[in-house]
């Protein structure tokens, strides 16, 4: 097709952006405004990826608008890698690597060096990853990187700092009992995953006692290797020069584990195959929650906190059709951007709560994962309300879940949920920092980059029947947990309590 012809075709099918004559007029309704079509496409990954001598991938997104540089080094190591009795080891190793001195610097000297650069270096660890972050002005990035390398390779785990950290942790643990949200968190995880699961393991005085310098040195030596590590860099940098510098500092880092980090897997083009549907909703345990039912923890106070839910979902593939369906289901139930079902009822209609927080973990197990039961996260609806309204609010949550299990969601609601999910997509790639980070994360998680280019079309393909099917496979209200932390008598006897009893049984005080 000639270029001219192509232009003519585009002109013929594209609606006019603005009405030419009444350009200055204000339409009566916002729906009458005409916009240039906006279809966000994630920025191309091509040209962003580099590799160090040892195969560690580096994603660089330069942005010279401010004299700032962000560098993130992520390792696929976290709580999930702790053996029994090692609770908190991953987080403590990360925290003390930063705080306990490194290389030639003692703890105070290291803080001095970092602060004098006006930089920030932080290290932290969560369920599945350990992250070291350098955030500095561009003129000090070189010195900052040397400090970062020092923390990564030669942390000193200073004894005095460790002793102080342990003392603080013990104090925090005893303070945790005073915070209703912390109590809810801890007990909720035990009810859903069972007391033996690593998902519900929490620090105790005994596990804090077990942190000694040798334990941290061992954890660091065993788990902090280049296998699976990724680096993301953004800001005021020249990509080639930065990668060369990173290679000097991190390119000789030797693997401690036999298997090396591979490139991100590729998604098959076209519709996914049928065989992807053998996912399990509840890990190896098979039930929605370890101890289903209605549980209460008596707490005096003017506010009750409650959580309703079960285990999350686990898939073999990022592209499992049920995974896309559950993303929409969560959005319909309680999307942050849309006027969702829970928000409409709890907030707009009844004014029962200020905010509802819902999340549905849709984890994907790597083929290499030996222990799949630990991979499953949670599906949780959390809210706070006055104790007298706790049953009414929980009953609304229950009703809405049962409605999702009973009826197909109307097309208009699916469309609105889809719009809302797609509207948030640009936020994931909003700034160069996010772009480099997102693509590096793909590689860390084994998520193919193509995930983002099929994102829109996969969501568009989900039907009402798909959502109903996924709900029936993955949501189990009878097998769920309702945990209420609040003034017990008020919190179990309000409106809606009969409905909750019918499904979950009588409320039981939780013995701790």
């Amino acid at each position: 097709m000639s270029r001219l012809l192509a232009l003519a075709v585009v002109a013929a099918v594209t609606p006019p952006f603005t009405a030419p004559v009444s350009a200055q007029a204000i339409p009566e309704r916002p729906e009458d405004l005409r916009f240039r079509p906006s279809v966000f496409e994630p920025p191309p990954v091509a040209g962003l990826r580099f590799e160090l001598g040892n195969g560690v991938p580096v994603y660089v997104a330069p942005d010279r608008s401010l004299p700032l540089v962000d560098i993130v080094l992520a390792l696929p190591v976290g709580d999930r890698d702790e053996s029994p009795g090692e609770d908190g080891r991953a987080s403590m190793t990360a925290a003390m690597a930063r705080r306990g001195g490194a290389g030639e610097f003692g703890p105070e000297e290291l803080d001095d060096e970092i602060d004098a650069l006006g930089a920030r270096i932080e290290a932290s660890s969560s369920w599945g990853r350990t992250v070291l972050v350098l955030d500095s002005g561009s003129e000090s990035v070189d010195q900052g990187l040397e400090l970062l390398a020092s923390i990564l390779f030669e942390p000193r785990f200073d004894e005095a700092r460790l002793a102080q950290a342990k003392e603080n942790l013990r104090a925090s643990l005893s303070a945790e009992a005073d915070d209703p949200r912390a109590v809810l968190e801890r007990e909720w995880l035990r009810l859903v995953h069972g007391p033996g699961s690593p998902r519900s393991r929490r620090l105790t005085d005994a596990s804090v006692e077990a942190f000694d310098r040798d334990a941290l040195v061992r954890f660091h030596r065993r788990h902090w290797g280049p296998a699976g590590a990724v680096i993301a860099a953004s800001g005021d940098v020249d990509a080639e020069a930065l990668v060369a510098r990173l290679d000097e500092l991190f390119g000789d880092w030797e693997p401690r584990l036999p298997e090396a980090g591979g490139e991100a897997k590729r998604l098959p083009q076209g519709p996914p195959t049928e065989s992807a549907g053998d996912a399990a909703s509840a890990g190896d345990g098979g039930s929605a929650a370890d101890s289903p039912g209605w549980w209460t923890i008596d707490r005096p106070g003017t506010q009750a906190a409650l959580a309703f839910g079960q285990r999350g979902a686990l898939f073999d593939s990022w592209d499992d059709p049920d995974r896309w369906a559950l993303m929409l289901l969560t959005e319909i139930l309680d999307g942050p951007g849309a006027v969702s079902r829970l928000r409409s009822r709890l907030q707009l209609e009844e004014g029962l709560t200020y905010r509802v927080l819902t999340y549905f973990d849709l984890d994907v197990a790597a083929a290499a994962d030996s222990d799949r039961s630990h991979r499953t996260g949670e599906f949780r609806v959390f809210l706070e309300t006055i104790p007298e309204s706790a049953t009414a609010a929980a009953a609304v949550v229950l009703e809405e879940l049962r409605r999702l299990l009973r009826d197909e969601v109307p097309e208009s609601e699916i469309a609105s949920a889809r719009r809302s999910l797609l509207a948030r997509l640009p936020l994931l790639f909003d700034r160069p920092e996010m772009i480099a980070g997102r693509y590096a994360e793909d590689e860390l998680l084994g998520r193919p980059h193509e995930y983002w280019s099929v994102y829109r079309e996969r969501l568009v393909a989900v039907t009402a029947a798909d959502i109903l099917g996924a709900a029936r496979q993955f949501v189990d209200t009878e097998g769920s947990v309702l945990l209420v932390v609040g003034a017990r008598n008020a919190a179990i006897s309000g409106r809606g309590s009969e409905k909750l009893r019918d499904v979950l049984g009588a409320p039981r005080p939780l013995k701790r």
Partner: protein, 485 residues
């Protein structure tokens, strides 16, 4: 040696006023005939535009007996207009007036007036709660939120750059003819918000009470922006309307757009849409009505709390300014904070070692400011040991002065911190709006230049002038055993 010299030159370059934030922040500013101000920061390539508008006026303007009014109005502004939020405005309007009369009677009598419920039901059939957010989310907008602060109230939206005109339509529409629907429900939500933010945190209620004791009854900052429960419950729609009319005037409004939007286009749309707002008063009128705030009462407070034992020591200082003592106090906070700062080095890890954590903050607002130091007690440390330890620290700063290396560190941190705040579009939009409402956005960069000039002598001066043991208030919270165990 060579590299040390080079490093010193680099440091000097960074900490000199020449290397300020200014070159990185040059918004286009314009003001409409009605007095409304716009700031546009063009950032090509961003898929979303961060759009924020703020009104000069927050909880500090709540009238006596109506604490929480500004916050309630913030919520009500999401109820829509004559166009948005209704199925039929012609039919709704008289019903809404009748509902308001009945509701007013009910509040005055303390019992529901007859017919209130019936009118409420008829209204429910006509109204569309959530319609305002619905229009935005259908267009792919997100981050729809609002914030009531002491001196200002801000409303934010993030939307695809192609649809920026929708923001002009929606925001000018609700400013032009807002309709405060669902009044009763919104009072309940505001009440819930307060519980969730303040009442359910162990120390939250105490800090609220300390604000009241520190500033003293009747001071504009004596209550939290969230409001007072009993007074919120008694508010009437007429209160909300009169607050809206007095406060939400174009000459008190600032709008900021950050993203891929051209200043020329923004100016054209601003004129067309916001130009419709009527300028009710002149700038001079707005300036004249600023009341002189009373001196803080400096009331201290002691209590038991299901939290870590801690003290907060507060000293009255000066209102917000991008110069002089206000900036020196900000730098002093920088000297005390961070891991190489004095608080951490001397109270958390050093000789004194009395604290689990400690931080300093200079809070400066339109009608007054204070310098606050918060110290959480370390294990086995008694509360009465904390304040003397802080006093000794201050004496050491006065005796030895701030070292050059310390000042360099603080300047550098302040500079990179401010660049970081410019990085994120919505954050920058809020900062610009707040600074413009407090007298002009240039104060952001002027403040940085002033901070770079603060000397050790300046720090000594402000410590001697403001941080005097005789002029302070202290909140002391002792951990109350093991509540709820």
């Amino acid at each position: 040696m060579k590299s040390t010299v080079l490093a010193a030159i680099l440091l000097a370059a960074v900490s000199s006023p020449a290397a300020s934030a200014s070159p990185f922040l040059e918004p286009t500013r314009f003001t409409l005939d009605n007095g409304m101000t716009f700031l546009i920061v063009e950032r090509p390539g961003r898929p979303l535009v961060a759009a924020v508008w703020a009104v000069r006026g927050g909880s500090a303007s709540d009238p006596p007996g109506r604490r929480g009014l500004a916050h309630v109005v913030e919520h009500l502004l999401y109820a829509g207009s004559r166009t948005i939020g209704t199925r039929d405005w012609e039919e709704e309007a008289p019903l809404l007036r009748r509902w308001e009369r009945l509701y007013e009677q009910s509040v005055r009598r303390g019992a529901a007036a007859s017919g209130l419920e019936r009118v409420e039901q008829r209204l429910a059939a006509l109204q569309r709660p959530g319609a305002y957010a619905g229009v935005y989310t259908r267009a792919g907008a997100l981050g729809i939120d609002a914030f009531t602060r002491h001196d200002s109230t801000a409303f934010q939206t993030l939307l695809p750059k192609e649809k920026i005109e929708l923001w002009f339509w929606m925001e000018s529409d609700r400013l032009l003819e807002p309709v405060f629907r669902g009044f009763r429900r919104e009072l309940a939500v505001v009440e819930q918000e307060r519980r969730q933010r303040i009442d359910s945190s162990p120390a939250g209620t105490w800090f609220d009470l300390f604000d009241a004791a520190y500033w003293g009854a009747g001071h504009p900052y004596a209550h939290s922006p969230g409001g007072e429960r009993l007074e919120v419950a008694r508010l009437l729609p007429a209160d909300a309307r009169s607050h809206f009319e007095a406060t939400y005037r174009p000459d008190r409004l600032v709008a900021v757009l950050v993203g891929d939007v051209s200043p020329a286009r923004a100016r054209e749309l601003a004129k067309r849409y916001f130009g419709r707002l009527k300028g009710a008063g002149s700038r001079r009128a707005a300036a004249a009505e600023k009341p002189a705030a009373p001196e803080p009462a400096l009331g201290s407070l002691e209590g038991l709390c299901a939290c870590r034992s801690q003290v907060e020591i507060r000293y009255p200082t000066v209102p917000f300014a991008a110069a002089g003592d206000a900036v020196a106090l900000d730098v002093l906070a920088g000297l005390l904070n961070s891991r190489s700062g004095r608080l951490y080095r001397e109270l958390v890890t050093g000789e004194e070692r009395v604290a689990f954590a400690a931080s300093a903050e200079h809070v400066s607002r339109e009608f007054g400011g204070y310098f606050a130091v918060r110290i959480e007690a370390g294990e086995g440390v008694h509360l009465p040991e904390l304040t003397p330890a802080w006093d000794r620290l201050l004496e050491r700063v006065l005796a030895g002065g701030a070292r050059d290396s310390e000042l360099k560190r603080v300047r550098r941190q302040l500079l990179t911190d401010s660049w970081r705040q410019f990085e994120q579009d919505a954050g920058l939009a809020h900062r610009l709006a707040a600074a413009e409402a407090l007298g002009g956005w240039r104060q952001l960069t002027r403040w940085l230049d002033a901070a770079a000039d603060v000397s050790a002598d300046d720090l000594k001066r402000v410590i001697e002038r403001y941080l005097r043991p005789a002029d302070r208030a202290v909140l002391s919270l002792t951990r109350s055993g093991s509540a709820g165990r």
